[in-house]
């Protein structure tokens, strides 16, 4: 009796929560991330430094976009406002309809330099993140989640190793597994493959897309990069940023290539080549020694 009444109560609660949530998507149907007039300024000893200025961008659910630009153009800062690690000086960022105030379990972050804790094993690194971000599961369920994600990135056999014993590519896979394990609807990748060699990088792209596919392409992915080929291969749209300070969006380039994409074939595709040229022109102004004045 008691259990059934409790069950009934919890169903009521659940339906309340969902009805509340149902109201929100009407207001931003299909929008995963909305950035509205965001400006980020920092106080420095030399005065106020404005990294990005008055940027607006919206990202659809399940979309993959890349932020591309030169070093120090504020790509990472803009990404930080989505993750909640950076507070905008003005403007609003909404993730899944909620204003971003701090990092939350709906957004998984993969950092530039892996950011694994060197004293924890591969398993523990993921487990501690899962344990903190997911409150409603039992320890056994969390354990299972960690193991599944480790298997997904093919690191289960290395689960008891310390990060110091892994190669760069393996470390980055741990970081990706950690971000996936909390099952976020938005995945934020800050130059995740920047430190990897070209071959490892290439296979990581495919692995990332595979994980995204396995999840029915429902996760929104925002990635910061300065690699044009990487940006085209992965994304639906490439956001090209101007050089900072006071960086803005220079242009948004659509990538209408059908998925699944084949790394080998895609480079011969005319659309690919056009986009590649366009991005080159947007980002680079010196193409040969003749261009150096």
């Amino acid at each position: 009796m008691k259990t059934s009444s409790m069950a009934a109560e919890s169903t009521v609660e659940v339906s309340n929560v969902t009805s509340e949530n149902l109201l929100k998507p009407v207001y931003n149907a299909g929008k995963s991330i909305e950035i509205e007039n965001v400006t980020v300024s920092f106080k420095t000893p030399k005065g106020i430094y404005t990294a990005v200025k008055d940027i607006s961008l919206s990202v659809k659910k399940g979309e993959i976009i890349c932020l591309i630009g030169h070093s120090g153009c504020g790509k990472s800062t803009l990404m930080g406002t989505i993750s909640g690690m950076v507070k905008p000086s003005s403007g609003v960022v909404r993730a899944n309809g909620n204003e971003v105030e701090k990092p939350g379990p709906d957004r998984g972050i993969v950092f530039q330099n892996y950011s694994l804790l060197p004293w924890l094993t591969v398993y523990q690194n993921i487990y501690e993140a899962v344990d903190s971000a997911i409150k409603h599961k039992t320890a056994a369920q969390k354990k299972e989640l960690v193991i599944n994600n480790l298997k997904m990135v093919k690191l289960y056999d290395h689960k008891d190793k310390l990060p110091g014993q892994l190669s760069g590519g393996m470390k980055q896979r741990v970081a990706i597994a950690r971000a996936f394990a909390i099952n976020p609807s938005i995945l934020l990748l800050d130059e995740p493959f920047g430190a990897l060699d070209a071959l490892t990088k290439s296979s990581m792209h495919v692995e990332l897309l595979k994980l995204w596919n396995l999840d029915n392409r429902e996760k929104t992915i925002v990635m910061v990069t300065h690699d044009i080929e990487e940006a085209i291969f992965l994304s639906d749209r490439v956001v090209v940023m101007n050089n900072g300070p006071e960086a803005t969006i220079k242009e948004i380039v659509d990538v209408p290539l059908p998925r699944p994409r084949n790394k080998k074939d895609i480079v011969h595709d005319e659309v690919y080549m056009t986009i590649h040229d366009k991005l080159m022109n947007l980002l680079i102004d010196k193409f040969s020694i003749d261009d150096i004045v």
């Binding site: 990092p103 379990p105 950092f111």
Partner: protein, 261 residues
């Protein structure tokens, strides 16, 4: 690989023996020049064997050298233990809060250079008991290295590690146990290693002042007042070896808890 290791070990043993011979030679010369006012190594060795007889004897008026050593170690242990219990949390707080650092640091900087012996009379005035006063002195002087090193360790936690805590919403407790303490542990151990070194140095001086049972009192009473320079030298050697063992102990701990990043 293993062969090189044995040659290395053999070499270090040879060098150590060479060092001993050198010191022994100089010592022998000094004895010669002072006409055995400073006893030579052979005479000291005889006294050493004498002192070492029945080391754990614990009669009301006759105590063995081992009993004295243990009582010195116990005082150091209590003072150092109490000091560390206060110093580690204080250091963690100082490292994590700029305000607490600003409040506590100037006081630490003023008190740190004070000779530990200056605290002895204060301890005596507070506790009206000389063994307690030497423990108090050890307590005070073992605070500073641990406080300073712990605080430094916490303030050096890389932003990357902090980001992990923020990004995945670590609780305060998880941040403390999974990020702050593991990162700071090697620094804490460095502090503790320095502190135990200071404590071991200070206890000898403290016991000279306080009397009672202990190595310091042994040096003063049986060595100097008893007119046996050999006993003073024996005590110096024992103090040195015990100090070395304590240091190695903490070094081993440090080694165990340092990880390749």
């Amino acid at each position: 690989m293993k062969k090189i290791f044995t040659i290395k070990t053999l070499l270090s043993v040879v060098y150590f023996a060479a060092g001993l011979l050198l010191v022994g030679g100089i010592w022998e010369l000094i004895s010669l020049f002072t006409k055995n006012e400073i006893p030579n190594p052979r005479m000291t060795w005889i006294t050493f064997k004498e002192v070492m007889q029945n080391p754990m004897q614990n009669e009301p008026d006759v105590k063995g050298i081992g009993t004295k050593l243990l009582s010195s170690l116990a005082r150091v242990g209590i003072g150092f233990g109490l000091g560390s219990i206060i110093a580690i949390p204080l250091g963690l707080l100082m490292g994590s809060s700029k305000t607490i650092m600003a409040i506590v640091n100037p006081i630490v900087q003023i008190l740190r250079p004070v000779s530990p012996l200056a605290w002895f009379p204060l301890g005596l005035a507070i506790f009206k008991d000389s063994p307690a006063a030497s423990i108090f002195m050890i307590f005070i002087c073992s605070l500073w290295p641990t406080v300073i090193n712990t605080a430094f360790g916490v303030s050096a936690i890389p932003q990357d590690h902090k980001n992990v805590g923020t990004a995945f919403g670590f609780s305060k407790w998880k941040y403390l146990t999974k990020i702050m303490l593991p990162f700071t542990l090697p620094h804490i151990l460095t502090g503790l290693r320095l502190a135990i070194g200071v404590a071991w140095m200070v206890i000898v001086a403290g016991e000279m002042l306080s009397g009672g049972i202990g190595l310091g009192y042994f040096v003063w009473e049986e060595g100097f007042n008893g007119g046996s320079v050999a006993k003073i030298i024996v005590a110096i050697i024992i103090i040195g070896i015990v100090g070395l063992i304590l240091d190695k102990l903490f070094m081993a701990l440090q080694k165990k808890f340092s990880y390749a990043v």
